[in-house]
């Protein structure tokens, strides 16, 4: 069944849209990430203009992360105080990102920048996760008892001025690194159309030493708030949010996420992380190849101001 998307101005198969929403939702439920880094490239590949894809996926990420954030909130596993700082700084980062997005679009290098951004970011994060999870799997094989790390040592930047006490996370640290992390996530997220959960979680764990039970919930809340702001920013600055496209993806995504979350119970943490690392590395290699391999057609044409 075809459905006409009024902002993208093309008609697509309804079941295809709900299907890819569901498939990516399944993965996001499984790994606890937003899934934007998979959905945006998939949509662009299916012929949706890049700006519409990036802007509409932000809406889908909000929906996918909301149900998770709510259930963590009910369990009291969100540090609202910490999330507030992250959200405020990431909204500033996001508005800078949306402005840069417009600037790159006018110079014609948006496509290159998105490819390079995904390549570097996903390649880096994917390699780190892969190394860490393979080590954990090998240790378990060798019979070493793996304890969850209790990171309580401080880094130099924890002692910067403007220290704030985060009661829930049992932290007394400077807000400067918190704000810098929020700013970076907001900037990258709005530029690449990704929630940034897979960067934020390691950053909270390894840089800020946030306890494990608070990490996922706080990161989900931050993603919801930031992506909601980004959706509005995109809607105002480029009018490229397609509500019907976003809705089709949301419906598939929320249903898929539930099945993904229950499937995740059958896999151990380090196995999940290894699978996610493979996925992230795969997407990054795909972007890398598109930069290195000779394109099928060296010419491309687009209406100015749309499609990069």
């Amino acid at each position: 069944m075809q459905i006409y998307l009024p902002i993208a101005e093309l008609s697509m198969n309804l079941f295809f849209l709900v299907g890819i929403g569901g498939a990516v939702g399944f993965l996001s439920g499984l790994f606890g990430v937003g899934g934007g880094f998979l959905l945006t490239p998939l949509l662009i590949f299916s012929g949706v203009p890049a700006p519409v894809a990036v802007a509409s996926v932000t809406g889908q990420v909000v929906a996918a992360s909301t149900s998770g954030a709510l259930s963590y909130y009910r369990r009291g596993q969100i540090d609202l105080h910490l999330a507030l700082y992250l959200v405020l700084s990431s909204v500033i980062g996001a508005s800078l990102g949306v402005a840069t997005f417009q600037l790159l679009r006018s110079t014609g290098q948006l496509e290159l920048f998105i490819s390079l951004g995904f390549l570097i970011l996903l390649g880096f994060v994917g390699t780190l996760m892969m190394v860490e999870s393979v080590r954990a799997i090998l240790k378990r094989r060798a019979g070493v008892v793996v304890r969850d790390k209790l990171p309580n040592q401080h880094n130099w930047f924890h002692g910067l001025p403007l220290r704030v006490r985060f009661k829930r996370s049992r932290l007394y640290i400077s807000v400067v690194p918190v704000l810098v992390i929020g700013l970076c996530i907001g900037f990258i997220g709005s530029l690449l159309g990704i929630g940034g959960g897979f960067i934020l979680v390691p950053a909270l764990v390894y840089l800020l030493r946030v306890p494990g039970n608070m990490v996922i919930g706080t990161s989900l809340l931050q993603v919801v708030a930031m992506m909601a702001a980004t959706t509005i920013l995109h809607a105002v600055s480029s009018q490229s949010v397609d509500i019907l496209l976003a809705f089709c993806l949301m419906v598939g995504g929320t249903v898929g996420a539930q099945f993904g979350a229950s499937a995740g119970k059958y896999l151990r943490g380090e196995q999940l992380r290894a699978l996610l690392a493979m996925l992230v590395l795969g997407v990054s290699i795909r972007f890398g190849l598109s930069l290195i391999l000779a394109p099928a057609d060296v010419f491309s044409t687009a209406v100015k101001g749309l499609g990069g």
Partner: protein, 252 residues
């Protein structure tokens, strides 16, 4: 004074029987984009008749018809990638101002058999002439990029030359089918019909039709343009609600 009147009378006298006029019509003057819209086929038809006021009872051919269908225009940019230190990136580009988003040429015979290239170029009939006419680049880039742009537009179905697109059902009655694709840009479309006889243009006529969103699709498109803040807020509310509902239904 009398001489002037005589001259006027001579000028106003009916022209020789060679004068023909073109009567043409598009099957619909509006294509409505609804949620199930996947493109539409329009029939363009018409006939060749003696000029109004002419004493001739019939017209004599053979006639040739060329119809151009032109969609709304938009600024277009074509880019060329090349390898810089092993990385492929856009290095050259050419812009086209007010380039049609859709351009189809339908005719009943090969364009080169109907008339000479100079006449075709004069009326901007060939696909490539649309690119030449709108190019903002220098002459070298205009030639190189115009050919590539037309090739890409043909590949995506937005430009088309169909030299069997017009069918004559009798000596003077013709019809043609124009396809409005699924990704057609809403706006005013012009179907321009040229009537040729012995390689000379003897009549032409323009018919218009609009492609527009109606109902819900129109409402959404307008809301996004005119109330972007409200539209963005509604998107976010919808997302939050869907996420919440998903959580409630599945009780995670």
């Amino acid at each position: 004074m009398r001489a002037l009147l005589a001259l006027l009378l001579v000028l106003a006298a009916p022209l020789p029987a060679a004068a023909e006029r073109l009567v043409s019509k598009v099957s619909r003057d509006e294509v409505a984009i609804t949620s199930s819209y996947t493109g539409e086929t329009l029939t363009l038809f018409g006939s060749i008749e003696p000029e109004a006021g002419s004493t001739a009872k019939f017209v004599e051919g053979p006639f040739h018809i060329i119809i151009t269908v032109t969609g709304p225009t938009a600024d277009r940019v074509t880019r060329q990638k090349s390898s810089v230190f092993g990385i492929w990136l856009n290095t050259a580009e050419a812009e086209f101002a007010h380039f049609p988003t859709l351009y189809q040429v339908l005719s009943d015979a090969k364009l080169s058999d109907i008339t000479d290239p100079v006449t075709l170029a004069k009326y901007r009939i060939p696909l490539i002439s649309q690119a030449y006419a709108t190019s903002k680049a220098g002459w070298w880039n205009t030639i190189a990029f115009s050919h590539e742009t037309v090739r890409l537009m043909e590949k995506s179905g937005r430009m088309k030359l169909n030299e069997q697109g017009v069918v004559f059902h009798s000596d003077t009655f013709y019809s043609a089918q124009a396809v409005v694709p699924a990704d057609a840009v809403p706006g005013l479309y012009i179907a321009h019909t040229y009537l040729f006889k012995n390689g000379l243009l003897i009549a032409e006529k323009s018919d218009g039709f609009t492609v527009r969103k109606i109902g819900f699709e129109r409402f959404l498109g307008q809301a996004a343009q005119e109330q972007p803040l409200l539209y963005g807020l509604v998107c976010v509310m919808l997302a939050l609600f869907t996420g919440w509902l998903g959580g409630v239904v599945f009780k995670r």
